[in-house]
Amino acid sequence: MAKRILKDLERFKKIVRGEIRKNLKELIETGSIVGQKGGDIVKVPIKAIRIPQFRYDPHEQGGIGVGEGEIGEPIRFDPQQDGLGQAGYGPGPHFREVEIEVRELAEILGEELELPRIQPKGHRHVLSGDEEYEDVSTVGPQALLMKRRAFRKGLLRQLLMSPPLAQGETIIVTPIKEDMRYLYGQPSEKPEANCVIIFMRDASGSMSGEKTEIIRQENWWIDLWLRTNYSNVERVYILHDYEAQEVSEEDFYSLSTGGGTRISSAYELCNRIIDRRYNPDQWNIYAFHFSDGENWIGDTENACVPLLRDALLPKVNLFCYGQVTLGRRSPGLHLIKLKERIEDDRLVTSIISDREDILRSIKDFLGKGR
């Protein structure tokens, strides 16, 4: 018989999913989830999933803290996070936001956009021995020893067994075998599929501000989807103006340059990185390039097209080009020229003229199930 609580959990998840689905477009457009780094949990600000009750405005209520600090200084903790201080609620936790596993959020995105599951290319699958540590054990390998805990156990044992200490006497703790505590987990075997995402962006002056922000939002969701489809994901960030270079994720979204634009520089670098580091037989390769469509005269047809057709497209699962054109600016011709000259399922293009297009654009890119 299914456990009672699982039914309650199902009802809750159904409500969460419904709310997220209802608000997905808004969540994406406001970018309120984006920016949460790593981890398996994302916080989704959804007000509706709460029983409203009469309570004090937390801002007006204030509170009590412990520690140093001058009067006038801002406090260094989030009073609503450290919820112990917030008495007055009944049993059970109360939330401002819903925490959702990355996997679940990706599923919702997938369902909402009707994204097909990705079929990894026919690469050999590696069985990985991933472990999740969920408990504490008294035996285990050295590497998983919890030292602090072992010492606490040791101290406790010695205190229990030794005669009372005199005032000021010190005690030397020597943990013995019984004191040791180890992280404990179940090794799980799952097929491992490798994936590399290569993000490219035009960093010239005309691409700063809102355009970069849109790209950041879009990449976050793309990343979310891909990382839940593959067990091993690596990321490469390439910025370009006239020249291209590989940068860190942080620089990718913050740097901006003044030079002209030669897109083929990025495609060349991308190709070189694949050849050097990501053998297409072992890696599912995804490349995303964003620019405003403006390019050095002749570069698209003379350099980019042959590079894509002959070198890049045969190696990748997908090559996506997003042309970010805000409002009135006349769109560049890069996208049109690519579409005219290349016919290949692996090349997907999309025009993003404002935040509202992000959702559709994600669907353009990932809707192929490649």
Partner: protein, 540 residues
Amino acid sequence: MLSSKIRELEELRKQARQLVEAAGLDPWPVIFGVVDHDQLNEYSAYDGFPERFPHWSFGMSYDYFRKRSAYAGWWTYELVINTNPAIAYLRESNTPVENKGVMIHVYAHVDFFKNNYWFSKTPKDMIQVMHTHAERIEEYMEKYGIEKVESFIDKALSLQYEIDQYAPFVKRGLKPRAEEEQEPEPSRIPVKRDYMDRFINPPKWLEERRAKLKQAQERAKLRDETELLKPHKDILGFIMKYGRLENWQRDILAMIREESLYFVPQIQTKIMNEGWAMFWQSKLMAEFARPEEFIDHADMVSKVLTGGALNPYALGKLIWEDIKERWDKGRFGRDWELCKDPEKKRRWDTKANLGTEKIFEVRRTYNDVMFLSEFFTPELFEKLKLFAYEYIPETGAYHITSRSYEDVKKKLLLQHTNLGRPLIKVATGNYGNKGELLLLHFYNGVGLHLEEAKEVLKNIYAMWGRPVNLKTIIKRKVKDPDPMRNRIHPEHPVTSVYEEQGVLLRYDGENLRELALSSAEVKDIRLDEDYSTIPREWIG
């Protein structure tokens, strides 16, 4: 293997029981269950019970506990329910020493449940009560549909703690008067032959008519009285009695109210009860090992004293220790209070040795508000580096506003007075002689979470069936801060001047309106209290 573990636990349990009894604690019998971490999360979500009525909010709690344990390594330490015999759970992976500590902790909780006055009226067979509630609500779900029942429960839970927490201790209010207890009789359809009666007037139909009739009579009576004599705190009970509800809905409100009344003492004594359990755990484990050196104890104190939000449970433990020490050393009474010499006070020890007696007396009759008012002393405050903080809208942050004993204490009491909630009462169910509900928020200077309050009004409307009104007070900005002062005093923020303004929030089923209140109306709901600790020189 399994039975040897059980024998070992039973041995530990006996030892723990002996220890607590020798110390003077007097708990009910406790049944300990050993559970794996998933079960522990499940029971935590159900507030310790093996079963609750079906509702998504328990799934939400379960999800929360699961994620906490899986991703943050955070565990429920112990779980115990207030029943006789009490039920407690031990984590499968606990070590013997951990188990012994948890058992002492649990026994101290159970001693508190059994002997503290505020728990004296809770049903001792609550597991059975919860089970019956679950069954009844499941029946309703089968009969009326899951969605319909669940959505009604959503609304009812909005008023979960809008009850009279003192109701079990006094007889007042909604008890029907003698003449009302006569059941009104619905007219029967006349029958020629007696045996036809139970087909033409089936008992169930009669029962329903009877209930409707009774409701109608009560509503009529309510309309006769334009105002209740005194504002009434039990909003949930009031709606249960006078709201336009089906019988099953009324029944659900009754169940939720019963469960809330069961949980209220736990909320009212959280600091004392948790502190009591920590106090005995650390004391007995220390005696069992050796005094003053117990590591958990040091750990605990360091946790209270490191920066961050105040951990009220650890504060509870420190207060118990302080009471014990003060009454052992005779630091109480007139002489002590009148002594103004700090050095003399520091060395004060009359060898009174009354500590143990005193803490047992306090555990018998106090609740958190009484406990904090009396035993959170300036001396104790001096030992802890506590401060009060407030939100400053101009900076969008919370700032340290005060390190004075009075300010910290008043903030502490605010968190525990009236279950830490704003005081709201029903004034009448016949506002404006139109059968509308009028609620009064007795305002103590701390405003309501307005957006949420509006949602509550909508939920109440769904149960009351007529427009719902709430009188409250909000703060309106009347003057921006002077930017010059920011430059003169960069060390503290400056904030706007606010003025209090009475409003009537009114939801009529379609629109939510805000109307201004007259100054006379404001006077009725403005309590003579102030909890703000923002220094005067920050304002304006």
